[in-house]
């Protein structure tokens, strides 16, 4: 009897027990699809987080004052920011943007007013460093900063609140009693967390200091590294210069400022996302296990009937090897087919958003899920058959 014929025997065996075959396949299908989809959801949410962080700019470093340590003043000043622009001491720094920000500055236009969540005073390099491009109009120039001109670029939310249906460019608004001319509108930005990233306005540093914040300390300094790979080098150059300026004792652990970069933020966030994916994967693995138990159950229920059948086949002269081959082919056909359908179901399911997340399939999860399901199918399908094939025909026939 050749292999092809054994396959035909197996197919006949499967079609003779359609309901059992269908149920077994369904169990495998659900297990495989669940594993692939849940892992894809975890992966998708992790990618969504990292995308959002990357949107913040992966090659920027933010320096903020902590107000502690150091022997003299702990404030960040415009001079320090200027000192960071030093091709000798800080070759990996592309641009430096000193930032002052005023929270809840009220902007008024023709009687209607709006409290801008963050009113930023900075230099033109800020737009690219913070990946906040101007959508319409133009950014202000270095000259505007030097002259302290009162021009402002507003965020989408501000534009919509104050100028519904009107082009805000070249309109004049009042902020802190001073008139500002709107020169541009920021491109729409996706928000992280609860703050509306579009509820903002950006004006030259000097103008904001004059009108809103006064000439005190800077809120932060945004440093743009030459490339994402140079972030670490730029960060150490920045801290060397700042330590010098702020008279920080190198041996004392605490500095009066804090340096943050997007990649370190990304790392912690990715860790959280990985934990989430692992958790989902565990849930999925459990569902695969439950699917496996279902298969075992179905196989065990039919073991009596199949054992009798094996007894008959042996009595008619089927050698053990042939019986085993037939039943293993049956089991693998079921699990391979069920697994393939499961993969198909998962691929279709991943086209839709699940709990607000666009699933991103992890290729290795497909291999893993299909591998495990085939192993389960072969083991639990093959084991009872192997046992029955070892029985004497008469014992197999009497099996109950």
């Amino acid at each position: 009897m050749n292999f092809f014929e054994v396959v035909r025997f197996s197919l006949r065996g499967l079609s003779a027990n359609k309901l059992r075959s269908a149920l077994t396949m369904l169990g495998i299908l659900i297990g495989v699809a669940a594993v692939i989809l849940l892992v894809a959801v975890g992966n998708g949410s992790a990618q969504a987080i990292s995308d959002r962080i990357e949107a913040l700019g992966t090659n920027t470093i933010t320096v903020m004052s902590t107000g502690r340590g150091g022997s003299s003043s702990t404030a960040l000043t415009k001079e320090m920011a200027d000192a960071l622009t030093d091709p000798e001491l800080a070759p990996d720094v592309r641009s430096v943007s000193p930032v002052v920000s005023a929270s809840s500055a009220t902007m008024t236009y023709e009687g209607s007013d709006h409290a801008v969540a963050t009113f930023v005073g900075t230099t033109p390099s800020w737009f690219s460093a913070s990946t906040t491009p101007v959508g319409r109009g133009a950014a202000f120039s270095d000259d505007d900063v030097d002259q302290g001109r009162r021009v402002v670029v507003v965020g989408q939310t501000v534009a919509e609140e104050l100028f519904p249906g009107v082009d805000p460019i070249d309109k004049q608004v009042t902020v802190g009693g001073a008139l500002f001319t709107i020169v541009g509108v920021l491109a729409e930005k996706s928000s992280t967390g609860f703050n509306d990233a579009n509820d903002t306005a950006v004006a030259p540093l000097t103008a904001v200091q004059q009108v809103l914040t006064g000439y005190g300390a800077l809120t932060s300094i945004i440093v743009e590294a030459a490339s994402p790979e140079k972030v670490d080098a730029a960060q150490s150059e920045v801290s060397t210069i700042l330590d010098q300026k702020l008279d920080v004792d190198a041996s004392s652990g605490s500095t009066p400022y804090r340096i943050q970069n997007a990649s370190s933020l990304l790392e912690t966030q990715t860790e959280t996302a990985d934990t989430f994916t692992t958790l989902l994967g565990a849930v999925a693995a459990i569902s695969l296990l439950v699917g496996g138990i279902g298969i075992t159950n179905i196989m065990l229920v039919t073991v009596t009937e199949r054992t009798r059948e094996i007894g008959i086949r042996k009595a008619l002269g089927a050698p053990r090897r042939l019986i085993l081959t037939q039943f293993l082919i049956e089991a693998s056909l079921l699990s391979v087919l069920g697994g393939a359908l499961g993969v198909a179901a998962a691929l279709i399911g991943s086209q839709f958003e699940i709990v607000g997340v666009k699933p991103v399939i992890v290729p290795s999860s497909i291999g893993y899920a299909v591998g495990v399901s085939i192993a389960i199918g072969l083991f639990f399908g093959g084991l009872p058959a192997a046992r029955a094939a070892r029985l004497r025909p008469i014992d197999a026939l009497r099996y109950e």
Binding site: R313, A315, L316, A318
Partner: protein, 273 residues
């Protein structure tokens, strides 16, 4: 004389343990030569099926020796046993044992498939065997669509289809009416005439009377073993049957005596395909 087809010495079979012990066979010894046609009779529970299962190499005795075609069955490997069951022995179960949800013709084909016969030839021979038992019209029916007697005849066809040298039949006519019984017995007579060895279990005296030799079993022991007709001549039933065959226009299905001696297969021997 050549070596016997079957030779059992001191066969015992004990089922269960302790209180529930059943001595199904208590030292059975017998020799069956090639071409013999043996009927085994005895009351229910006397150990007939137990003996038959051992002869068919489906079960093993608790003690005693069993030589099949001169070979000690207890020494055969799984593969050799499979070969013997497939090529040498045709076994008819008391309880039919057809494979469920599988058509009659597929059931009959099964032993041929295990013998390596090609599908086309397999189907043809299976249909012939079904025709012999008068069930050609029911070839595509599954066992649960057949009556008890029809299932029994499918089981007979399945045992005959490989043209085994040794036919072991456990009450093959137990569920049949007298017409079907006659048909099946005539097939047996023809096989016997062709030189095949037959062992048949029966409750019916007229069935036992047609055999060449009658063994009576009581409580797991042989009480009588008598020869009813010579081993080298056709069985008594054959003559009567031939007359009726001639009358009926000759519906001869099994190999005829004038077709020469049938090929007799031995354990480990190759089937002449």
């Amino acid at each position: 004389m050549t070596r016997p087809v079957l030779q059992v010495t001191g066969l015992t079979k004990i089922y269960g343990q302790g209180e529930a012990t059943v001595h199904a066979l208590r030292g059975v010894s017998a020799v069956v030569h090639r071409g013999d046609y043996v009927a085994i009779m005895g009351s229910s529970g006397s150990g007939k099926s137990t003996l038959m299962n051992i002869l068919g190499a489906l079960d093993i005795p608790t003690s005693g020796r069993y030589l099949l075609d001169g070979v000690d069955v207890s020494r055969l490997s799984d593969g050799q046993l499979a070969l013997a069951r497939n090529r040498l022995i045709g076994f008819i179960f008391q309880s039919f044992n057809l494979i469920p949800r599988t058509s009659a013709v597929a059931n009959v084909e099964l032993p041929l498939a295990y013998a390596g016969v090609r599908p086309g030839q397999r189907r043809r021979r299976a249909m012939e065997a079904l025709d012999v038992v008068g069930l050609a019209g029911r070839a595509d029916h599954e066992p649960n669509q057949l009556s008890g007697g029809q299932q029994q005849r499918v089981a007979v066809a399945r045992a005959l289809v490989t043209e085994p040298a040794l036919l072991l039949a456990d009450e093959p006519t137990g569920n049949l009416d007298s017409k079907s019984t006659d048909d099946v017995l005539q097939v047996f007579d023809d096989l016997s005439t062709a030189g095949r060895t037959i062992v048949i279990i029966t409750h019916e005296d007229e069935v036992g009377a047609r055999a060449k030799r009658l063994i009576r079993l009581v409580d797991g022991s042989i009480v009588t073993d008598q020869r009813q007709s010579p081993i080298h001549l056709p069985p008594v039933g054959a003559a009567i049957a031939h007359q009726s065959v001639a009358d009926a226009g000759g519906h001869i299905r099994a190999r005829r005596p004038d077709a020469g001696p049938a090929p007799v297969h031995t354990v480990g021997g190759r089937h002449p395909q």
